[in-house]
């Protein structure tokens, strides 16, 4: 039982130290996953990302957004909704990359140049799920807002 108590104390100390150090985050690699079409939730995700940049600093952040399934509607909205568009533009200026799944583009029969806002060939990934797995294997933290 003593051993357990000792472990408990060490763990408690460990948490204390960790929390105390949380002020400076250092470099981060993060991938945000968006596969839903609900407008409010998409705006929420973009807000999360901006807050993330504010907290960590854009120079410390390699942040990718991977969209598949219903997630493509974010870039569709950005075509027509100036509010969504300005958010995307602003995030891109801060170095955020928006990647979209080729399967989704094919499945939804999208013309990425006309139907989606500011998408180039290089922004298209062969599989959204494979991209998410690949980035995690490379040390990116997965966030689904």
């Amino acid at each position: 039982m003593k051993k357990l108590i000792a472990i408990a104390i060490m763990a408690a100390l460990g948490f204390g130290v960790t929390v105390a150090n949380a002020g400076s985050y250092g470099k981060q690699k993060v991938v945000y996953h968006i596969n839903y079409k609900k407008e409010k939730r998409q705006f929420g995700a973009l807000r999360n990302i901006q807050n993330h940049i504010n907290a960590v600093g854009k120079e410390n952040l390699d942040l990718r957004v991977v969209m598949h399934g219903g997630g493509y509607t974010l870039l569709q909205r950005a075509n027509t909704d100036p509010n969504m568009q300005s958010k995307v533009v602003s995030l891109k200026k801060q170095g955020i990359k928006f990647n979209i799944c080729a399967n989704t583009i094919r499945g939804k029969k999208l013309n990425y140049k006309n139907d989606l806002y500011d998408v180039e060939q290089a922004d298209i990934v062969p599989s959204g799920v494979a991209e998410l797995a690949h980035l995690q294997a490379k040390g990116f933290t997965y966030i689904k807002p």
């Binding site: 051993k3 763990a11 400076s24 470099k27 596969n35 598949h68 599989s127 799920v129």
Partner: protein, 278 residues
């Protein structure tokens, strides 16, 4: 009520916390835990917390002089995670000890652990192959064109993905199956070795229930078409279905049942699997 069980000793608990148990002992411990729904819910909560902590510090700040510090930090976190597991086990033992595990649960857990062993052996074999390749490169040999070399070149590590489904919203379920099939096709086309598990809990298990699944034929076809794909259902969710709505879930053949979906998410991430929530 069974009273003939040996009580759990401090040594056993320490061994559990330190991860020094044999597979059988671990299976028995999980047995105890999985038998009690309340305990299991608590475990889910605790694991969720430690999962969040782990995720939050998956990439500790890499200051060049802070190597030792971050090792110490992850050590502390490990201890904390083990401690949570240990504490939960104590709770489980105290509250759930008298409930004897069923034969089925035992068999399932044993099978689950056997799968884990198989998997470990596979990845050991793979490591050996990788080591061989590295040795080859060190003496200046060119990468040959034989199958093994190509395999390693294409995927230095086997890709492992857990896809988490906890909704029965039809559009989402359909899109999830589309995404799942697309990625399986992609890996097959590019010759990458991958294992994918779709873990369903909560409302998500509807997809895997024989009588109510919106896509039973598609599930069966995908199971046959991809031997690297497993559909997994959470026992807790099935228990809850029975307790709350009196429904005994019958699953599509080939669906694997695990004790707790949340615990499975934890275990798989600890084993280096990517996590994707659909």
């Amino acid at each position: 009520m069974k009273k003939d069980r040996p009580t759990i000793s401090d040594e056993f608990l320490s061994a559990f916390v330190d991860n020094q148990l044999t597979q059988e002992e671990k299976a028995a411990a999980y047995d105890q835990i999985s038998e009690n729904k309340e305990i299991n819910m608590q475990i889910c909560e605790l694991r969720k917390v430690s999962d969040l902590v782990r995720l939050a510090y998956a990439n500790p700040p890499a200051a060049p002089d802070a190597q030792e510090k971050s090792i110490a930090k992850s050590f502390q976190l490990n201890i904390a995670a083990c401690l949570l597991a240990g504490l939960t086990l104590v709770l489980g033992v105290v509250l759930g000890w008298n409930l004897g595990p069923t034969q089925e649960a035992r068999a399932l857990l044993a099978e689950h652990d056997k799968m884990k062993i198989d998997h470990t052996q596979m990845s050991q074999r793979h490591k050996k192959m990788t080591a061989k390749m590295t040795a080859g490169n060190m003496v200046g040999q060119q990468i040959s064109n034989d199958a093994a070399a190509t395999d390693i070149k294409a995927s230095p590590e086997q890709i492992k993905i857990l896809i988490h489904l906890n909704s029965n919203e039809i559009e989402l379920v359909q899109e999830s199956l589309d995404a799942l099939e697309n990625v399986l096709k992609y890996y097959r086309k590019t010759g990458q070795r991958a294992r994918i598990e779709m873990v369903a809990n909560g409302d998500g298990i509807t997809l895997l229930r024989k009588d109510v699944s919106p896509f039973p034929e598609r599930i069966k076809r995908m199971q046959q078409e991809y031997d690297n794909l497993t559909f997994v259902a959470c026992q807790n969710s099935m228990d809850r279905l029975k307790d709350e709505r009196g429904i005994v879930a019958k699953l599509i053949p080939g669906v694997v049942v695990i004790d707790s979906g949340m615990a499975q998410l934890m275990r798989r991430q600890d084993q280096g699997w990517a996590y994707i929530r659909v």
